[in-house]
Symmetry: D5
Subunit: 141 residues, 10 copies
């Protein structure tokens, strides 16, 4: 049984490029063994991550991530059983945030800031997909 | 929660290009701070305006606009919660009315005059969208 | 409230091009004042006309036309409230009947003659639309 | 081909119970020969009538009625081809208007008056059906 | 054209039963003349009101109400053109709030308080309808 | 924003009625303050729990529960934004498992054991709802 | 492959109860061997018959019936492949025509006569079903 | 009322190109007078024919064809009332069977032979339409 | 993953009540261990059986049954993944065939014999369900 | 009646290219006589085969294949009655597995291995179709 899970979280103070790279490195090492694929965004101190894989594997990983002290307010935005993955080619892709501009943010939010806590999961998924579609996903599969 | 609101109003006598420009200037100054976007038409003494943004922000602004003495008969044509904005790129765009011809008016009305008071909100929205589609929106975002 | 009305009628004996032109001239003079648009066909002694406009205007005109002694058996084929006109650009267009051939008539009728009295209004509307689509509408808007 | 036609009209000044009874008498004599059935309301100087029958028969009768000097502003509200009649048992039933109260009128109108000219045909049909459902139809089939 | 409009507002400090009664008295006097019907709730300092009527009448009244100093944060929750009224029998009914219990509030909200500002208009309408359905509407039509 | 979350977990060895009661006591004390409602089943060493409430509150609680050492293999079965709660009246109801018989288990599973890990979330929800419908929920709201 | 076939025909002059009984006798003898079931109406010189059974058997019988000199103008009204029969219990039921009154005929026709040649197959089927539903089917299975 | 009728039949022994041409000649002479159009296939001793036209005309012709001694096992495959003809341009087109290959036959049948008696009418119609689409129709309109 | 499988087969000559009882005894002993449930009919030398359970278990059993020399022409009629079983309470129920009468057989077949080989799986399933619904299922769960 | 059947099986140890070629040779010799078409994949010791044809022919062949000692765990994945074949041109096509890469496997599975036993039939069909679409089918028709 495959599932797709999306969550948001806030990085703790001081988290920056180094920590992001560490997380991506960890993910790319460990996800392939357990059949996890997905994509990660980081912008304005907020993480948005999509995890795809077997239901048990995704849950085991999500529970570990939720307890990771590098972020807080880990909050599920969307969770569903799926027939096929959308990111089968990325053990953990990184979304290039350079394209995240004022108009794109306003399109889905009340103000021009990334705030997945304030909107429904479907809206975050729509914003996320527009980002994925327009920004190229960075990093080797 | 994002909403889109459309209303019609009649300019008070003497309202002309100067007043229109004043209103657009005000809008472009104040709307960005409160996350409002939208478009404004002015033709034959009638305003048609679409406002998009957070529900509270749009309502606060609408109540202020409704009390503005530069127009009267302020009447809601359409109001709905939306998943995404249509005019995310314009703090207040201005519709170029040069394209508003007899056939376009007749297409949606009994006579060849712009009269949003006489038709349903859905019809005004259709006319408005045809205007937006064929006329270019004027003014920098 | 806009409506679209379609009817058929039989020209009285002796009606020909002169009468047709007189009717078209009358229509083009009078329809614009009352916001009526539409198209008229004349073939094999049968009129098919579509009238669009405000509900009261269309009914006033239809009642006058129904009493016009130049035709008889005036029979409604279709009548509906509409959101937008289809012939907004013609005060009264004239359909060029040169394209009305045997195969086109057979497509919608039991025999190769124009007989709107024998078929449902939806079928007449389909034939009419195919005529309008393939034959060009004649006459200035 | 069966059709159902509904129209409204305004009685000319001075029309009252006598004229109404005369019309009903005429209808009950003449409609059976031509296969017409239907129902008639009269209230506040306004007629609402539904006619059902063969398409040609209904049109011949409607054209005659439209020219009847006892009423004016004869306006079609609804016209459609039907699979079966709704009033097969009445050559011309009369709706008992005693039940037409303020709340019933307000339910479908802006003000508490019967004004079919101000609303869409579907709304008049709904009001009419509620009348038919709650008021009993008067007069022998 | 009939519309139904629902809004929420916060009573200014000190508003109590006397003010509520005054508002209801005003409404019952003035609404009938302009064909307005509706229902009003007042609970925990919050007004929820539904107004039904002709589009212009409802807008004129809403603009007046929005400017009434007895409440603030007047915010539209729902607005639509309707085929028929739901409250045709009440010039302004008053919802008996005794039935508003913890479970009913929780059913539609995150916490057991009436907070229409925090939820979508559809949710407020659902809560409102459950109130109207279970609580009897108070006051003569 | 209200959500409903369902998960399964395995009690660690030695968990019995005492631990279950302790958990229920904790839940009934703490859930009301944070607006959480729901139901809990315990059978054959497996927990099935539904949590309803504000999205942030549910996530904060779920992350705490997922880290609770009294159970392991905490696995999300279903998660969705909802318009209204189903268990608004229970701070944490307890499902009476006496009705869980062989036929009921077989109806949704390959073998006659409760194994939410082997089936899709929709199936667990269906079994759960049949339990809730047939077994009475135990415990005061 | 099961099919259901409905046709109309006109009895030749002089056909009456005797011929009808002869036909019914023949049908009840021969239909069971070939798995045919159905129902037959006879009124005002018109036959309406429904035949159900294997596609080849129904066609063989229909071709024989169409050549039978006791009737003419044999015309198919409806023909379709079916999943199950509607008249499985009657080798050839006879519809009691006593219930065929003026209102029932008018409900589906322009005039109060049985004329399946003038209406679509779906309308004849509707009339036929209303007859079958209200009149009892006569004759032992 | 237009109908489309499709049937299959088996040519009696000895039927060949000469008989086929005779039938086509007859059809092209007689069909135009009675408003019939259609297409005929002949392959492996089996006829498949589509007839379109007025309901009475098609039935009169079909009854005559069914009694024609040049073929047997005349079996209806499909019969329906239609809004418009598909073969309005052919008094009787002839399908060029050169394209009828093994794969096309297998696509719709259990074995690579043309056997409309073994499949549902919808399947024969699909095969027929693929033939008409890929093979060109032979013969002048 | 649960599946439901339905097949038909022909008993070899000489199979009678004794063999049927032996098969039912075997089924009731062995099916519970492997989580199989279902129902079996036997009539006129034909078996119809429905098997429900885990996909692998059902397939292992079906392959064994297909090779059983007590019947031949074992043919799948229907196979699908299901959300819930229909016969969860029967390790192998036996359908009481006393109710299988002529009209019931004719309802779904060309002739009054049980012949699942001649009809689609959906039709056999419909006949089977009507049998199950009207005849009681025999034998303890 | 045409059906399409898909199953998976595990080759017994030692099965390799020679055995595969033998099976394909057998299939291409025998399938045409009995009207069977289809496609076969072989990868990582697992067979996936689609068989299309008459229902009886497919079942006879499937029962023979299920008993073939060259593979075990023969398990149905999908079975349905179809209107037309998808592989009418291949007596038994062979899927070129060179395109079966890690991302394609992950798209439909929890881990990057071909395991039709772990997923629903619809998922296997989707993977199979993507293989068929991207890999070319090898072997002459
Ligand atoms: C935002 C975020 C995303 C993460 N994504 C992953 C991931 O996709 N895969 C992974 O193995 N670890 C991920 N981690 C790291 C895990 O939380 C954890 O540190 C890592 O799995 C190592 O776990 P361990 O220390 O228990 O071995 C992520 C951490 C954060 C803060
Ligand atoms: C037709 C019309 C449209 C207007 N649109 C806007 C607008 O989009 N944004 C805005 O801030 N003010 C708009 N205004 C002006 C407001 O009514 C008001 O004058 C302005 O917000 C300044 O408000 P204040 O005087 O309360 O600061 C509009 C006025 C009119 C007449
Ligand atoms: C077939 C036909 C179509 C007509 N169409 C129109 C029309 O579109 N507009 C119009 O004003 N008169 C039309 N007329 C003419 C009217 O019947 C009528 O003569 C005309 O409106 C002048 O009316 P009056 O004599 O009452 O002024 C048409 C007449 C016929 C016979
Ligand atoms: C409101 C109204 C409704 C009428 N309904 C009918 C009717 O249903 N049947 C009818 O024959 N005449 C009806 N009439 C009368 C006709 O207009 C006309 O007077 C009558 O058919 C006699 O026609 P004649 O004088 O041409 O013979 C109605 C008249 C009015 C004003
Ligand atoms: C919550 C609330 C609801 C009201 N509802 C109505 C109403 O339904 N009808 C009405 O005439 N006035 C209503 N009023 C009062 C109006 O705001 C206003 O005071 C009243 O229409 C008198 O207007 P005027 O002073 O301009 O004449 C309401 C006021 C409040 C605060
Ligand atoms: C199966 C299970 C269900 C639980 N459900 C709840 C619950 O609904 N509400 C709650 O407050 N704690 C629940 N708990 C207990 C929490 O895990 C935790 O112990 C409790 O919230 C106290 O948290 P704290 O020690 O961080 O204060 C549950 C624990 C288990 C094992
Ligand atoms: C209206 C009508 C309905 C008939 N229905 C049947 C029927 O259902 N079954 C039947 O065997 N014959 C029926 N017949 C009689 C057949 O046309 C034919 O006479 C009969 O099958 C004997 O055929 P044979 O003379 O070729 O043996 C019907 C005849 C008519 C006129
Ligand atoms: C397969 C087949 C198809 C036929 N198609 C037609 C046709 O389309 N039109 C037609 O008039 N006759 C057609 N016929 C011939 C008729 O059966 C009949 O011979 C012809 O209409 C002459 O009829 P008559 O001898 O009664 O005048 C067809 C015959 C066969 C065998
Ligand atoms: C029509 C029919 C239905 C059967 N149904 C079952 C069944 O539901 N369960 C079962 O275990 N065996 C069933 N069997 C018997 C099996 O074919 C087989 O004999 C039995 O499973 C013993 O298998 P074994 O000899 O391989 O142990 C059925 C046999 C027939 C002929
Ligand atoms: C994976 C697999 C697929 C097969 N596919 C076919 C096939 O499509 N057609 C076929 O005739 N035999 C196929 N066979 C072979 C049959 O199982 C059987 O050996 C063959 O039909 C010869 O049967 P016989 O020995 O009973 O004559 C297949 C075997 C295997 C293992």
């Amino acid at each position: 049984m495959l599932v797709r899970l999306m969550y948001a979280s806030r990085a703790v103070d001081g988290t920056g490029t180094d920590e992001l790279l560490a997380i991506l490195r960890q993910s790319k090492t460990r996800n392939p063994e357990i059949g996890i694929t997905g994509v990660l965004c980081f912008s304005e101190g907020i993480f948005l991550q999509v995890l795809e894989g077997g239901r048990s594997a995704v849950n085991r990983l999500y529970n570990r991530i939720a307890a990771d002290p590098r972020h807080t307010q880990v909050e599920l935005l969307s969770y569903q059983e799926i027939g096929e993955r959308r990111f089968a080619g990325w053990s953990m892709g990184q979304v290039n945030m350079a394209r995240l501009n004022r108009a794109l943010l306003l399109k889905y939010s009340e103000t021009a800031t990334l705030d997945p806590y304030a909107v429904s999961g479907a809206v975050s998924m729509a914003l996320f997909e527009e980002l994925v579609a327009t920004a190229s996903i960075v990093g080797q599969p």
